[in-house]
């Protein structure tokens, strides 16, 4: 039995490690903000963290299949813009349009990666110009408006329910389901050993396109969330999400080479980055130190992880 526990622990090293860190951070956070665990506080915080969490999930999906998405920020902004522009005519229609836009841009990225013989890093880099341009056409200047009622319900709770929190939970559930389908297993198989997957009869190209499209859905949701949180759209707001989503994924232990990683860890890592940023504000440290802290945390975390895994494999 202890053997079993040890194995489980080792298999979930990232989740356990990140979880432990998170507990420490939450304790520290509580020291500064005694109302941390009140519904109001949870609602506000989850609304604030939702875009990064979902964006990181999108990035992790692509990375699990052995790819990377540098156009993620542009796609996020596109979804945000589409939603903000159309929200007044009906929130549901706007949401569907925004998601469709994000998913199809993702699928287009996937097609280029799968069929064109271009490395993902360079395809998605070029695509980031393209989708950025589309976003500017949709919304040349910051604006658009999201119905005030929705903004209020989202940010301040709806009948005591933290909507963003629920959304994150639902998306995780969606992932969990996808993960147990043939597509989900293929995703890991392609990332882990692409040639082997192909030789075993898996449609590698379809899987890649699917992975990028699914990532598009996650990123689209992130964009919608951001629009609802801020009440309007802004075509230029997406850029930091590209790199932060990669940071969160890497921190979570998702391999650059594909096939390794857990979505739970990604969510925890994104949460960690968000909390850390807020915490720095509380400590009275100039907010200017935030970026320095983020960079340092990233380097230390990856270096520690690299050395830890090397000991295990040698």
């Amino acid at each position: 039995m202890p053997d079993r526990v040890a194995t489980t622990l080792r298999g979930n090293l990232d989740v356990v490690g990140l979880g432990a860190l998170l507990v420490v951070l939450l304790a520290a956070y509580r020291h500064y903000d005694s109302e941390l665990f009140t519904p109001a506080s949870i609602t506000i915080l989850s609304a604030q963290f939702l875009p990064l969490i979902l964006a990181a999930m999108g990035q992790s999906t692509v990375m699990l299949a052995g790819g990377i998405d540098l156009s993620l920020g542009s796609v996020l902004a596109l979804a945000m813009a589409v939603f903000a522009v159309r929200a007044e005519d009906g929130v549901a229609v706007a949401a569907v349009l925004a998601l469709a836009a994000a998913a199809s841009t993702g699928a287009a990225n996937g097609v280029l990666v799968a069929y064109a013989g271009l490395p993902p890093i360079i395809v998605t880099l070029a695509a980031s110009f393209l989708w950025g341009g589309v976003t500017l056409v949709v919304l040349p200047k910051p604006g658009g408006s999201v119905p005030a009622g929705l903004v209020d319900a989202y940010n301040n709770g709806w009948n005591g329910l933290a909507l963003p929190f629920v959304v994150i939970g639902l998306v995780l559930l969606l992932w969990k389901t996808v993960r147990t389908t043939r597509f989900g297993l293929s995703l890991y198989a392609v990332g882990g050993n692409e040639h082997g997957a192909y030789a075993s009869g898996i449609g590698v190209r379809k899987v890649k396109i699917g992975a990028y499209a699914l990532a598009g859905v996650f990123v689209g949701l992130a964009g919608i969330g951001l629009a609802v949180q801020t009440g309007s759209g802004d075509a230029t707001i997406g850029a930091p999400y590209t790199l932060n989503s990669i940071a969160a994924s890497v921190l979570a232990g998702v391999s650059f080479f594909g096939g390794i990683g857990q979505m739970r860890a990604t969510v925890l890592a994104a949460l960690l980055i968000g909390l850390l940023t807020n915490l720095l504000l509380f400590t009275g440290l100039s907010p200017f130190y935030q970026l320095i802290m983020q960079g340092a945390v990233l380097i230390v975390a990856i270096a520690v992880k690299t050395f830890a895994t090397r000991e295990r494999t040698d």
Partner: protein, 542 residues
């Protein structure tokens, strides 16, 4: 009626004809062995059947129907399962997930873990594998992974099973389980194509043998009508004399001062000189060993290995596959962490990185040319000069590479080593395996190493180049180099080496030299270790 018929199939890679009008067939309920040397085209023809490649001309019939728009996916659908030496498992997924890779049984679209494990168990039992289906595949030893691969091939209930060197990493018991599966399939009127370098296995299990050589079918024989010698003759195609050069102290060091592959005339001369050598023995170079190794230990790979590498001698590391031979070589070249005492020319040496080993004039020719030996995407010139930049960029030139000196160096090496290239700008990956190996060796020669380490120096190389390499190695030794070779080929070790240290489970269990160095003694020593220990080794299936 034939289940599979290959009809006049040809295939070329980059103008290199790999298959030339190959034809053979496999009947239902039959086991066909495909034999031939490395590079004879076995793997290529099998790739055509499994849909990884498509033929340039000719056709493949399955069940009487020509294969059209062929892919691994389609091949699996119609009941062709295959196990290759190169694993197609995903190391990060569980054994059960791997067994059903790409065709996971789903209920309402969902693949249930517990369900998967339950369904995987009987398949694992069938191949004699007792592991938890929920372990990650990458955690299993290589042999077990290969059995998982077999279970995976069986999962789709194949009518044709292809075993391409599928037993190379297996021990006796495991090989027996594989053959039990083969017999089962034959009894159920399914067919099997088997490729293996172990001749005894092929005779034990096959009904017919088809021999390939240089991309052509030499003959197909019923097992009852042929024997080992017949097949080998067909494989090699000709009797090759003087495959091995004379040993240390037996021949005359003709042209030993130049490290070059000898011409036919020179080989003949060496041979006649060896004839008189009986009376006129040349003294073996004696003296202190260049490299003295005591208690060399690489955790998990080899333990307490002692070796003395003398100038002028070729030492072999023998034994069954994977007994730590590779680790010894890699440690001596600073590629893996190790402990133990190493003396270079009588002075203690620390070999912590390849750079330090190279500085001590140690050279290493790895078995995996494409990963650790050469930069295959770069051209011959770049590969040959990379290890000799000190020669082609003298200090006074401010680190600028002297193109003229570089061209001269490359031309000289290409000529001395008889490397067949269209020019120095040809990419290494476009060369044949033999020529790649020559480049891999040639790049070290200008720095005049004192110790040369070679792993499987002739793997995947045609017999003509083999002979050239053997003679070159002897010349290098005669010129004062100490040579250490690992090889899975018993004949090679016996024919080439002056002494062979036999390894078993990471330790040297016997040293053979002179009269004692025979194939029989070598094989016995390799297996004696196996008998002494509870775990049985591979390579001795009866």
């Amino acid at each position: 009626m034939a289940l599979l018929a290959v009809e006049k199939v040809s295939k070329s890679f980059a103008g290199n004809r790999v298959l030339n009008e190959v034809s053979f067939d496999v009947r239902a309920g039959e086991v066909l062995a495909l034999v031939g040397e490395n590079g004879a085209g076995k793997s290529t023809v099998l790739s055509l059947v499994t849909g990884l490649l498509s033929p340039d001309s000719g056709r493949v019939l399955y069940d009487g129907e020509p294969l059209r728009s062929w892919s691994p996916h389609r091949a699996r659908e119609v009941g062709i399962g295959s196990v290759h030496q190169e694993l197609s498992l995903n190391p990060h997924q569980t054994v059960a997930e791997n067994v059903f890779l790409g065709q996971w049984p789903a209920r309402r679209g969902l693949v249930l873990r517990r369900d998967l494990a339950k369904r995987a168990r009987p398949l694992l039992e069938r191949v004699g594998l007792d592991v938890d289906p929920l372990t990650r595949a990458g955690r299993l030893p290589l042999g077990q992974q290969q059995l998982v691969e077999l279970a995976k091939a069986l999962a789709s209930g194949p009518r044709l099973l292809i075993l391409d060197e599928a037993t190379s990493a297996l021990d006796d018991d495991q090989v027996r389980s594989v053959f039990a599966v083969v017999d089962e399939l034959r009894a159920a009127d399914s067919s099997v194509i088997i490729v293996s370098h172990r001749m005894a296995e092929l005779f034990a299990v096959s009904d017919r043998l088809t021999v390939l050589k240089d991309g052509e079918v030499m003959a197909t024989r019923d097992r009852a009508e042929t024997d080992h010698d017949d097949i080998v003759r067909l494989m090699i195609g000709r009797e090759l004399s003087d495959l091995f050069p004379p040993k240390a102290g037996e021949g005359s060091p003709v042209g030993a001062e130049i490290a070059a592959i000898p011409s036919e005339a020179e080989i003949a001369e060496e041979k006649s000189a060896a004839g008189v050598a009986a009376e006129n023995t040349i003294p073996v170079l004696t003296g202190a060993p260049v490299l003295k190794v005591r208690g060399l230990t690489v955790p998990g790979a080899c333990e307490n290995v002692d070796l003395d590498l003398d100038p002028g001698r070729i030492i072999g590391l023998g034994g069954l596959q994977g007994q730590g031979q590779r680790a010894v070589l890699r440690a001596l070249f600073g590629l893996v962490r190790h402990s133990g005492r190493i003396e270079l020319d009588g002075r203690p040496a620390r070999l912590a990185s390849p750079r330090e080993a190279i500085r001590g004039r140690i050279a290493y020719v790895p078995e995996d040319r494409k990963v650790e030996g050469l930069h295959v995407a770069q051209n011959v010139r770049a590969n040959l000069s990379l290890t000799n930049l000190g020669v082609v960029t003298p200090g006074k030139r401010l680190l600028t590479v002297d193109r003229g000196a570089e061209a001269a160096l490359v031309d000289d090496l290409v000529e001395r080593m008889r490397i067949r290239v269209t020019g120095p700008e040809q990419e290494v990956r476009r060369l044949s395996g033999g020529n790649q190996q020559k480049v891999s060796l040639a790049r070290w020669l200008p720095s005049e190493p004192r110790v040369l380490l070679l792993a499987e120096p002739t793997r995947g190389i045609d017999v003509g180049t083999k002979r050239e390499i053997y003679h070159l190695l002897r010349r290098l030794a005669d010129g004062g180099m100490a040579v250490l070779v690992t090889s899975g080929d018993t004949m090679e070790l016996v024919g080439l080496c002056d002494e062979v240290a036999v390894m078993y489970e990471g330790a040297v269990v016997e040293r053979l030299a002179g009269e004692d160095l025979s194939e029989e003694r070598l094989v016995r020593a390799s297996v004696t270790g196996a008998e002494a220990a509870p775990r049985k080794g591979a390579g001795t299936h009866a």
